[in-house]
């Protein structure tokens, strides 16, 4: 019980901490990526994905975790969802 509360608390802490330190709490950062004036989001996201990719697949290969959380791919849904999502993201800047 205690672990199921404390673990997500700590994970959430570092997750939002990294977002804040990358400057993603600011409207300008988000919108200026779409204006090609500031590549922070791209750098941040791609580094995060690369590090996570190495971490997850290393742990998988030495047998410490199973890849059982892979989001299912349904091309039309993912693409249309993404297209609508971008509209909201550009409007809100979040």
């Amino acid at each position: 019980m205690a672990a199921s509360v404390i673990v997500p608390l700590i994970l959430g802490f570092f997750f939002a901490f990294s977002l804040q330190k990358a400057g993603l709490g600011h409207y300008d950062k988000i919108v200026n990526q779409f204006r090609f004036k500031d590549n922070t989001i791209m750098k941040f996201m791609m580094t995060g994905i690369s590090v996570g990719l190495i971490g997850i697949f290393t742990l998988k290969d030495i047998g410490l975790l199973q890849l059982d959380q892979v989001p299912s791919t349904y091309v039309v849904g993912n693409l249309i969802g993404g297209l609508i999502f971008g509209v909201g993201m550009a409007m809100a800047g979040t």
């Binding site: 994970l11 939002a16 996570g52 993912n78």
Partner: protein, 176 residues
């Protein structure tokens, strides 16, 4: 540089912050067997509210089985996220209650608070609706999905950037 000085910096290099994100995501997978995300937690919250108010739609298949009214992993993650972003911004003195974002917003759209609040509200509704269609948001699908080499994440990123660029272009007009 001392720990305190590092914490006082408003922003870190995106490479360093990104590495911290990757480590957190890996830890989440290894320890909790869950991926980091945010849009799902909001749906769980909505489900809890719907059930508490005894509304009809709360008993639909979706909110009964897909998003049951439970204090999920992601809701507790939210509390951690509030603490994390508060610590980061308060320590670096970046924390400020803003009615309208600094400079760029008012230079482009004028000083109106109503306009900003309306746009962030409508934008937020669109974001959550789209996340429901796509199966995740920027963190849950684009970042957590792609780091597991799921095509869903990459397709989502493509869609997000295409429409994000077009929407910004339309909103900014000549100022783009």
């Amino acid at each position: 540089m001392s720990f305190n000085e590092i914490m006082k910096k408003k922003t870190w290099s995106p490479w360093v912050a990104g590495a911290l994100l990757g480590i957190t995501a890996t830890a989440s997978y290894a320890i909790a067997d869950k991926t980091i995300g945010s849009s799902g937690g909001i749906e769980s919250l909505v489900s809890i509210i719907g059930h508490a108010l005894n509304l009809n739609w709360a008993y639909s298949m979706y909110f009964k089985y897909q998003m049951p009214p439970l204090i999920s992993f992601q809701i507790i993650l939210f509390i951690g996220m509030l603490l994390g972003s508060f610590t980061a911004s308060k320590w670096s003195k970046d924390f400020k209650l803003r009615m309208v974002p600094d400079r760029q917003w008012s230079e482009t759209f004028g000083p109106s608070k109503v306009k900003r609040w309306l746009m962030i509200f409508v934008g937020g509704v669109i974001i959550e609706y789209a996340a429901g269609i796509a199966g995740g948001c920027t963190s849950g699908l684009a970042i957590s999905g792609t780091m597991q080499l799921s095509p869903a994440g990459l397709i989502f990123i493509i869609g997000l950037f295409v429409s994000g660029i077009i929407t910004t272009k339309v909103l900014y007009g000549r100022n783009y």
